[in-house]
């Protein structure tokens, strides 16, 4: 286990200990909630992971990197951001995925654009959001999130 994962585990256990000392009932409820969330999400997470495994076999990261490298940065960034909007991927899968892509040589800029749209903007969740907040709110929020994902990516590309 690496330092970062270890830090989260230790931090969580300390937090859990303090929480348990302060309020047993509340802590048990939190653990039940965590377990329930995990169980509820497991099947959809596994499907997403197996789909990613499939996609990475058909399009190996090295080839993706090679292909992205040939495009202009702006185009690659917009396309990467668009790919991210298709579906919502939990962050703990999104990070290792983007890590794989960056490791294979895909530029930082498209990867950074891919990341927030992957977790934040979803064509899949659009109808849900529209129902709750109305068309205008949903369009403006998703549109601006998308735009700023690209801006952040470009700015980071200049800095790193």
């Amino acid at each position: 286990m690496d330092v970062f994962t270890l830090a989260i585990w230790i931090g969580t256990f300390v937090f859990l200990g303090i929480s348990f000392a302060k309020d047993k009932v509340k802590t048990k409820q939190a653990l039940k909630m965590a377990f329930g969330m995990g169980k509820g999400m497991l099947s959809s997470i596994l499907s997403i992971i197996f789909a990613i495994g499939l996609i990475l076999t058909v399009f190996p990261p090295a080839e993706i990197a090679n292909f992205v490298g040939k495009q202009s940065v702006l185009l690659a960034t917009v396309v990467a951001a668009l790919f991210g909007t298709i579906t919502l991927v939990p962050a703990f899968i999104a990070f290792p995925l983007v890590g794989t892509l960056v490791g294979a040589g895909v530029g930082v800029v498209p990867s950074v654009a891919f990341l927030p749209t992957l977790t934040m903007v979803g064509v899949v969740t659009f109808p849900l959001e529209k129902k709750e907040f109305g068309v205008k709110f949903t369009t403006v929020r998703n549109g601006l999130s998308f735009l700023f994902a690209i801006i952040i990516a470009l700015v980071m590309g200049v800095m790193m």
Partner: protein, 239 residues
């Protein structure tokens, strides 16, 4: 019929499984490769997912959100913005779990700006995730991206208030008195069915309400279930 319904509910999983079967028939080598690729992510997931869920649930339980929510109105200013970031970053569940809660907040007077901040930070700046990002993409990458993301959210939430008016949100739908569950928000944590099994049940992956008699409701259990729901999907309206 039930089989058909199950397939429809898990359309994505079924599609992935079918693709694997076809791939193993046509090109077994590629099939094996895909499983191997997936294995890496499953390993990463198992190492981090349990602890992330526990940490998120603990934060959700201990950060006094009810108190914070009083300070999210239009006049809250910088304090409201800061608190909105806090609410979004420590909450449990995926972004669509945030929708019903934000609608409720808006009805209670939270500004559009603060709602957008909650939704955005809910999606991208989960506190437990920051270390995970640093692990895969480096500490410097994480820190820079985090600063820019916060700045971007502050700017575009301000732009949004110039475009969206309060009236643009759907008006209050007069709900019937009684017990309601917002099933779209439900993340199947089963806390309500475990806490009050006579009233709640799981139908498929969603919590539902069994037929009940108003006189026989155990209000203490009901209030506990409403409070415990991580996505605030349970609502009880008095007559």
């Amino acid at each position: 019929m039930t089989v058909f319904k199950k397939v429809k509910e898990n359309l994505f999983s079924v599609a992935v499984a079918l693709t694997y079967i076809i791939m193993f028939i046509i090109n077994p080598a590629m099939g094996t490769e895909s499983v191997k690729n997936s294995g890496y992510y499953i390993k990463e997931m198992l190492m981090i997912m349990p602890v992330i869920f526990v940490l998120t649930a603990l934060l959700d339980m201990w950060v006094p959100k009810e108190k914070i929510m009083r300070y999210l109105g239009k006049d809250a200013g910088a304090k409201g913005i800061f608190l909105s970031f806090v609410v979004g970053s420590v909450s449990a569940g995926p972004i669509y779990a945030a929708f019903p809660m934000c609608v409720m907040l808006h009805k209670k007077g939270a500004s559009i700006r603060n709602i957008i901040i909650i939704l955005s930070s809910w999606a991208v700046i989960k506190v437990p995730m920051l270390l995970n990002e640093a692990k895969f993409l480096g500490l410097k990458f994480m820190a820079i991206r985090w600063v820019f993301t916060v700045l971007a959210i502050i700017i575009f939430s301000w732009i949004s208030t110039k475009i969206i008016r309060d009236e643009d949100l759907p008006g209050e739908i007069l709900a019937k008195p009684g017990l309601h569950i917002n099933q779209e928000a439900c993340i199947s944590c089963t806390l309500c069915t475990k806490g009050y099994p006579i009233l709640f049940e799981m139908i498929g992956k969603k919590a539902a309400i069994k037929a009940y008699d108003k006189e026989s409701l155990d209000f203490e259990k009901l209030q506990n279930a409403i409070k415990a729901c991580p996505v605030h999907a349970i609502e009880y309206l008095e007559e």
